[in-house]
C-alpha cells in the first residue's frame, strides 16, 4: 500500500481526549460527525486543514489515555492516511489496526509540518520528498499484518469466524 500526503505535526503524549473529546464521543456513532472535532482542543480548526491522505506525525506515546476506538476512527474518517509516531500507546495501536488505520512507528525527529511524504507500507519505508530523506519503519508483528490484510478485525472475523493468526 502506497500513501502520499503532507504532514501535520504534533508532539508527545497526544491523548485520546485530544483526538476526540469525551463530550462528543458519547453522543453519536456517526463517525463523519465526530471527525469534524478531531484534535479540536489542540488546534481548533484542524479538521478544515486536512486534505485526503495527509499524515499525522507525532513524537512519543501517541494515543495515550482512554480506550475509545472513536479516536482512531475519527482520525480515519477525517481523511488521514496514516499516523506516524516515534511510539504509540498500546490500546490506541491495537484499535488502529483493528479498524484499518495504518500506524507507523519510526524516528520522526526529522519530519516537520508541511513536509510531503511517500509511505510504502509493504517495504516499510517512508520517503520525505521535501527533505530528500529515507526513514526506515519498525515492522508490525505478523498477527497485526494478518488483521490489517483482512481489512481489520471485523474483516478477519467475517473471514474465519474466530482468530486465525497463529
Amino acid at each position: 500500500m502506497e500513501l502520499k500526503g503532507k504532514v501535520h505535526r504534533f508532539g508527545s503524549d497526544v491523548n485520546t481526549d485530544y483526538i476526540i473529546s469525551g463530550k462528543y464521543k458519547f453522543k453519536t456513532l456517526d463517525m463523519n460527525e465526530l471527525a469534524k472535532h478531531v484534535m479540536e482542543d489542540l488546534d481548533s480548526d484542524f479538521y478544515s486543514k486536512i486534505e485526503q491522505g495527509d499524515f499525522i506525525v507525532a513524537d512519543s506515546n501517541f494515543g495515550c489515555g482512554s480506550s475509545r476506538e472513536q479516536a482512531p476512527l475519527a482520525i480515519k474518517y477525517a481523511g488521514i492516511g496514516a499516523v506516524i509516531a516515534t511510539s504509540f500507546a498500546r490500546i490506541f495501536y491495537r484499535n488502529a489496526i483493528n479498524i484499518g488505520l495504518p500506524v507507523i512507528e519510526c524516528d520522526t525527529s526529522g519530519i516537520e509540518a508541511g513536509d510531503q511524504l511517500e509511505v510504502d507500507l509493504k517495504k516499510g519505508v517512508i520517503r520525505n520528498l521535501t527533505k530528500d530523506q529515507v526513514i526506515r519503519v519498525k515492522p508490525l508483528p505478523d498477527v497485526m499484518i494478518k488483521i490489517l490484510n483482512d481489512g481489520g478485525l471485523v474483516g478477519h472475523f467475517r473471514k474465519y469466524g474466530t482468530f486465525n493468526v497463529e
Binding site: 508527545s12 503524549d13 491523548n15 481526549d17 485530544y18 473529546s21 469525551g22 463530550k23 464521543k25 458519547f26 453522543k27 453519536t28 456513532l29 479540536e40 482542543d41 512519543s60 506515546n61 495515550c64 489515555g65 482512554s66 480506550s67 475509545r68 476506538e69 472513536q70 476512527l73 511510539s87 500507546a89 498500546r90 490500546i91 491495537r94 484499535n95 483493528n98 479498524i99 508483528p141 505478523d142 498477527v143 481489520g152 478485525l153 471485523v154 472475523f157 467475517r158 469466524g161 474466530t162 482468530f163 493468526v165 497463529e166
Partner: protein, 427 residues
C-alpha cells in the same frame, strides 16, 4: 539471569495452555469481559458486521451504563437503549444507571477473582490487578472479537517491578503514592509493559486503597498493574465472589525489565498539575492555588474509605462558598453503606452535591462541566485539557483528603493540617 516467571507470564500462560515468556504472542481464553456506555455501542455494531448472532458465553460478559448516566442527551439515550436491547437479547448482565462505575462493579459484584484474565473496553480495566487479576483495557472491536470467540490475542508484556518500602506518613495515601510514581517514570514509562507493585507500603494498604494504585497503572502506559494476593485480598474477594480461584505469585527468580525501589516514609501529599498526569508536584508547590470546583469520586477514589476520609476532614466544617463540591460514590452499594453510617450526611451537611453513582463529572459529559478559566481539584485519574468537557478549564489531581481540605479552604490545601494520629487507620 533467572528463569522464573512474572505474574503476567503465569496468568497468560495458564490461559493460553502453554508456557509463555515476555515477547510471545498468544491467543488466550478470557475469564470475563466488560464494556461501558462509551465503548459498548461500537462493539455491538462490530458484532453485527462480523455476522455474529450468539455470543461465545454471555455469562462471561457484563455491560455497564456509567459514563453518561442518567442520559443527559437524546443521542446518548439512543446508545443506552441499544445496550439495553442487546443485553436482553443476548442474556448479558447489564448494570444500568445508578449501579456504579464499571471498575468498582466488576470486583465488588464478584465477576473478577485472583488469577483471572479479564479484558474491558475501558482503559482503567487495569484496576483489578489489585486483586491479582491480569486485566487490561481494549477497544470496542477487540471486545467484539472477545465476546464472539471467548478469546483474544496478547503480546506477553515485560514487567517493571516497583518495590515500595517504608511506612506512609499520616495524611499521605495510596493516591499520593501512585501520583508520585507516575511523576517519576512519566506518562509512557511503562508503555507495552505490565507493572507489579510490591513491598511493605502495599502490604499495609487496604484492598480499597490498592485499587487506586492499580487503577492508574495506565497513566504510566502500563498494560496491567498487578499485585500479589495476600490474606487481605483473599478475605476481600471471598466477601464479594463465590467463584473459585488460585492466587498467582511471581517466582523469586522472575525476570523483570527493571526493578525500581522507593522508600516512601517521607512522602508528602502529591498533586498532578494541568494538563498531564505526570506533571506531579509536592503539595507545597501548588498550595494556595484557588479552586472553584472539587470532585470526590470516580473509579480511582469513589470507594467507601475515600468518602470516609473526606467526611473525617469535613465533619463540622463547611465547604468554601466559592467552591462547588461534587461527590459521586463509585457504586450503589458504597452509596448505601455511606448513607447508613452517616458519611453521606456529613458530606452533604458540609455542602456536598451528591450525584448518581457512576463516573460523575470525570469524562466531561455531565454532572459538573467547569467554566472557562476555572480550576478543579479532583480525585480522578486524568487531568487532560478538555477532559471534563471544557478545554479552557484546569484540572488538578489529588487524594480524597487533599480534595476535602481544598474544598474547605477554596484553594489547594495540605490535608495533613486536618488529620491527627487517630486518623492513621487510613494511611
Amino acid at each position: 539471569m533467572g528463569t522464573g516467571k512474572t505474574i503476567v507470564e503465569k496468568i497468560i500462560g495458564a490461559h493460553a495452555g502453554k508456557e509463555v515468556e515476555a515477547g510471545d504472542i498468544v491467543i488466550a481464553e478470557l475469564d470475563f469481559m466488560m464494556g461501558q456506555d462509551g465503548t459498548s455501542p461500537l462493539a455491538i455494531n462490530a458484532l453485527k458486521e462480523m455476522e455474529v448472532e450468539k455470543l461465545y458465553d454471555p455469562w462471561k460478559v457484563a455491560m455497564v451504563i456509567d459514563h453518561s448516566a442518567p442520559s443527559p442527551l437524546e443521542g446518548v439515550s439512543a446508545l443506552h437503549d441499544m445496550m439495553r436491547k442487546f443485553a436482553k437479547e443476548q442474556g448479558v448482565k447489564l448494570y444500568d444507571i445508578g449501579c456504579g462505575v464499571c471498575h468498582q462493579l466488576m470486583p465488588e459484584q464478584g465477576h473478577v477473582v485472583p488469577g483471572n484474565l479479564v479484558v474491558g473496553a475501558d482503559s482503567h480495566t487495569c484496576t483489578y490487578g489489585a486483586i491479582n487479576a491480569f486485566a487490561t483495557g481494549v477497544g470496542s472491536t477487540d471486545l467484539a472479537a472477545a465476546m464472539a470467540s471467548g478469546k483474544l490475542w496478547f503480546k506477553v508484556p515485560e514487567t517493571i517491578k516497583f518495590v515500595l518500602k517504608g511506612k506512609l506518613p499520616i495524611g499521605v495515601f495510596s493516591k499520593d503514592v501512585i501520583l508520585f510514581l507516575i511523576g517519576q517514570v512519566t506518562a509512557d514509562g511503562a508503555t507495552y509493559k505490565a507493572v507489579e507493585f510490591t513491598g511493605p507500603v502495599i502490604d499495609d494498604l487496604s484492598v480499597e486503597a490498592r485499587f487506586t494504585i492499580s487503577n492508574m497503572a495506565i497513566e504510566m502506559g502500563g498494560k496491567a498493574g498487578l499485585m500479589e494476593a495476600d490474606e487481605k485480598t483473599i478475605r476481600w474477594v471471598k466477601e464479594h465472589s463465590n467463584k473459585p480461584f488460585t492466587p498467582v505469585k511471581a517466582d523469586p527468580d522472575a525476570v523483570y525489565e527493571k526493578v525500581l525501589e522507593y522508600d516512601l516514609s517521607d512522602l508528602v501529599p502529591q498533586v498532578a498539575k494541568p494538563h498531564t498526569v505526570d506533571n506531579v508536584a509536592p503539595i507545597d508547590e501548588v498550595m494556595g492555588t484557588p479552586i472553584q470546583q472539587a470532585v470526590l469520586g470516580t473509579c480511582t477514589n469513589g470507594r467507601l474509605e475515600d468518602l470516609r476520609i473526606a467526611a473525617a476532614i469535613l465533619k463540622g466544617k463547611k465547604v468554601n462558598p466559592d467552591v462547588r463540591f461534587i461527590v459521586a460514590p463509585a457504586s450503589k452499594e458504597i452509596y448505601l453503606k455511606a448513607m447508613n453510617e452517616g458519611t453521606i450526611q456529613t458530606l452533604v451537611e458540609a455542602g456536598a452535591a451528591v450525584v448518581t453513582p457512576g463516573c460523575g463529572p470525570c469524562v466531561g459529559t455531565h454532572n459538573g462541566v467547569p467554566s472557562d478559566g476555572e480550576n478543579v481539584i479532583s480525585t480522578a485519574n486524568r487531568n487532560f485539557k478538555g477532559r471534563m468537557g471544557n478545554g479552557k478549564a484546569f484540572i488538578y489531581l489529588g487524594s480524597p483528603a487533599t480534595v476535602a481540605a481544598s474544598a474547605i479552604e477554596g484553594k489547594i490545601a495540605d490535608p495533613r493540617n486536618y488529620l491527627t494520629e487517630g486518623d492513621s487507620q487510613w494511611s
